[in-house]
Amino acid sequence: MNTPPSWSGSSLLVFKPRPSLPAPRQTVGIIGWLRTNLFNGWFNSLLTVIALGLLWQTVPPLLSWAIFDAVWTGGSDACPPGYEGACWVFIFNKFRVLMVGLYPGDLLWRPMLAGGIFVTLAAVTVLRLMNPGKLIALWFLLPLPFYWLIAGGLGLTAVDQSLWGGLMLSLGLATIGVLISLPLGILLALGRRSNVAIVKSICVGIIEPVRGVPLITILFMASVMMPLFLPVGLNINNLLRVQIGIILFSAAYMAEVVRGGLQAISLGQYDAAKSLGLNYWKTTALIVLPQALRHVIPSLIGRCIALFKDTSLVIIVGLLDFLGMVKASAQDPEWLGHDTEAYVFCALVFWIICFSMSRYGRSLERQKEEE
């Protein structure tokens, strides 16, 4: 028998790995990051150089225009014509008009109060401080007191609608537009999936033509054509007509978004609901819609952003919304030559609101994926 080799003793060779070498200096740290992300290959290096050149050409002049050379204090004589630099005084001076239009100065607390509540509610929504059911109820309830605050009546001085304007009007048109067009869109989407031929064809007959034409034509229809359809003597004011147009337009798009969500519901859900003895409306309200809407929340927020941007078109039918006020302010003879500041400020406000909404939508999407 062979004796097993002895493993003891000093002749045993033990494998001892050498300590690993540090990574090549060119692949770690800032230099490594630069090499992998900006200078990997001659083509990317060239692109980087071009991009840096572009930035060098644009960013410093932009900064000096917007910040370093800008005029922040003074009156209309603070920025002489031809002055190189932004005249933010102009924006400060026009701030009230840009926000609330020609709303009477002594009643300013009313839009301010409404705006404060609006912003608070938006913050509560984004930070998810309240349960969704209550939040939705609040959003749907608030327009009434808001309307009372802005329009007056019932103890408050009435303010004519021709005096409403600015960002207040844009936000109002968009918010009311969303709040009414969403339920309407849900109804249209349900109708489009209905088995009843006449309901289905009515819904398709509303959704498809509205989606196929520009918002401007709908606004023209609301502003110019609608008065012709009403009984002689009955007048609806222009603002309300435009709001109806916006609601109709938005509802058609909302309907298509909701339809996407409805299609994602499996047939088993309907069967299960039927076997529990639920009728059509109960199935829809308790089983189908809650799931379908949850599916499409990000797209619905996308529609809200689009609608808010689209409200800027009301300027074409003669309403002075935010963009309208910006344009009007830029033409004030006392402040000529400040179009750039006006448009940049307008873009900034739109951008902040829309970008926050889209970030909020994305965070909801991520939350949904985690669940």
Binding site: N37, L38, N40, N44, L47, T48, A51, L52, L54, L55, V196, A197, I198, V199, I202, P209, G212, V213, P214, L215, I216, T217, F220, M221, V224, M225, P227, L228, F229, L230, P231, V232, I305, K309, D310, S312, L313, I315, I316, L323, K327, A330, D339, T340, Y343, C346, A347, F350, W351, C354, F355, S358
Partner: protein, 386 residues
Amino acid sequence: MNIPLRMLKGGRLVGLFMQFAVVAGIIYLGYLLFLNTQANLEARNIASGFGFFSVEAGFPISNTLVPYSPADTYGYAFFIGIINTLYVAFLGIIATTFIGIFIGVARVSSNWLVAKLAEIYVETLRNIPLLLILFFTYGVVLAGLPGPRSSLNPFFGCFINNRGLYLPKPLFQNGFGFVLLALVLGIIIAYIVSRWSVIYRDRAGIVLPSGWIGSGVIIGLPVITYFAMGSPLSWEIAVFKGFNFQGGIVFRPEFSALMIGLVLYTAAFIGENVRSGIQSVDVGQLDAAKSFGVSKGTIMRRIVLPQAFRVIIPATTNDYTSLVKNSSLAVAIGYPDMVSVGGTIIGQNDQAIEIIGLWMAVYLAINLVISIIMNWVNSKAQLVER
């Protein structure tokens, strides 16, 4: 008599009756609206029907592609508007496609700086209203250009000032038709070569450089014909006369602003489609192709793009139709598109119903054509399952 009974049992007769009632209600509502409208039109002294189309328009239109004078009819003026809308839509879709692809590819670039810049572009443009971009481009950027006397002259024959962009105008002499004919012939030959090279590849296993041969024929044939015919093309260059430039091809600021705004705005959306399309291709496929030694260009052409297209096309169809619809914002900066001309007509004779109806019909028709074309492209791009 038992058929209706059976229907009554299943509730179908009730359903039918309800449908009938709804239809009757709608017809009655339509009738009421018709009566209202008639009364309103009469009260306001507004004519109805399209008779006004043969009446003299009397208003001038700048920026026309075909000759027009105020003595022409309303119908012809509206036709000019339709042509302008189609023109903007056509050029806009082509331009925005190129820029959108560029932005989308830059978004997924391995170069961090380029990807960030593209992201900033997309996030900025998508979150501000198009109308604001148009006002800014028209009222600030283009209006801020120097006057005709101190025009910018980036290259020979091209002048840029606050009255427009002037380019050399090609003048076709006798014999240029042959050059066009050679171009058509070249395209046909290139097509035959590419089809044949596929057959040849499958049979002999040899890949011919059909792309190079094809482009050589398409460019070569017309060039040879051009010189053989004795250069039948000359250029008319804009010259400064009196207060402004005369001659050449002119793009007015209204047109330029509309194109710049529409194209840059839509490109942000198309860029996002392209990005999500490219990112939808599984990384494993790229690794597999690389491990087979497939070249970078071939991976892009044969593996990434065909699959990315399936994601890109449906979303981009929507963006094309919204570009067409958004071209109606021309009215805000005074480019005479269909809405702008129609608005002028409404202002003159108050026949809003006819004009708005025509607007909607034309937009629906354009969008229908785009959908048909894009659905056809889409069906070509979709995976053919075997």
